[in-house]
């Protein structure tokens, strides 16, 4: 198959989807830290 030797492939849609997922993950991450910071101080 063409270009298989140097492992080039064309999947731009996947890269977009992957970054949408990562953005979702990062948003959830910060929402959770904000929720944690809203409770009583703990040591």
């Amino acid at each position: 198959m063409k270009g298989e030797k140097d492992n080039k492939f064309h999947a731009p849609g996947t890269l977009v989807l992957a970054f949408i997922f990562l953005g979702f993950f990062i948003a959830l991450y910060f929402i959770n830290w904000v929720m944690l910071s809203g409770t009583w101080a703990v040591r």
Binding site: N7, K8, T14, L15, L22, W33, S37, T39, A41, V42
Partner: protein, 176 residues
């Protein structure tokens, strides 16, 4: 070549551009999350409590009884209401299926709350502010809490401890 058949002889190939980008970003995010945990430990206000002592059940029960006797200010439904000195040590014993006291704490003051169990594993779940810690028999787990708002809070057992588990609900009263 497919995922269900052996790959071609040499499959050790360099990553293409998109892959390099994704792996680099994913690695950066992974490291960010790790240092985020370290950072929260250093600068956040909610640290994972680590202070722990070995204790036998009788010893901790004695500590709790002494604490209750010294600072009890009344009773509610037969449970002593205890007002510890500001910033002092508090002893709370969980047993199937009750808490040793109702605590009366002051807003903005840090209390060292000693948690232990007289029998099974229990859970300390403060509601509705939502803070949760595990309670084990023979371990004295010291959790330093600072109430941030006056009001009444539930102390719910959230580790399964037998058929009466759902009835094991206590209270913390926070005054201004």
């Amino acid at each position: 070549m497919s995922s269900l058949a052996s790959p071609e002889k040499v499959w050790w190939k360099p990553l293409c551009r998109d892959e390099r980008l994704w792996v680099a970003v994913a690695l950066a995010w992974s490291l960010f999350m790790f240092f985020g945990m370290l950072g929260w430990g250093a600068i956040g206000n909610q640290h994972l409590p680590v202070e722990t002592y070995r204790v036998n059940i009788g010893e901790f029960r004695q500590l709790t009884n002494d604490f209750n006797q010294k600072y009890t200010v009344g009773t509610q439904n037969g449970v002593p209401v205890v007002r510890p000195p500001e910033g002092g040590d508090v002893y709370l014993l969980a047993s199937a299926w009750k808490w040793s006291s109702i605590l009366e704490l002051k807003e903005g003051v840090a209390y060292r709350i000693h948690l232990s169990s007289a029998d099974f594993q229990h859970g300390f779940s403060l509601q509705p502010t939502n803070l949760n810690f595990q309670i084990l028999p023979e371990y004295d787990y010291v959790v330093t809490l600072t109430p941030d708002k006056a009001g009444e809070y539930q102390v719910v057992c959230n580790e399964f401890c037998g058929p009466g588990h759902n009835l094991m609900v206590g209270k913390i009263i926070v005054t201004e």
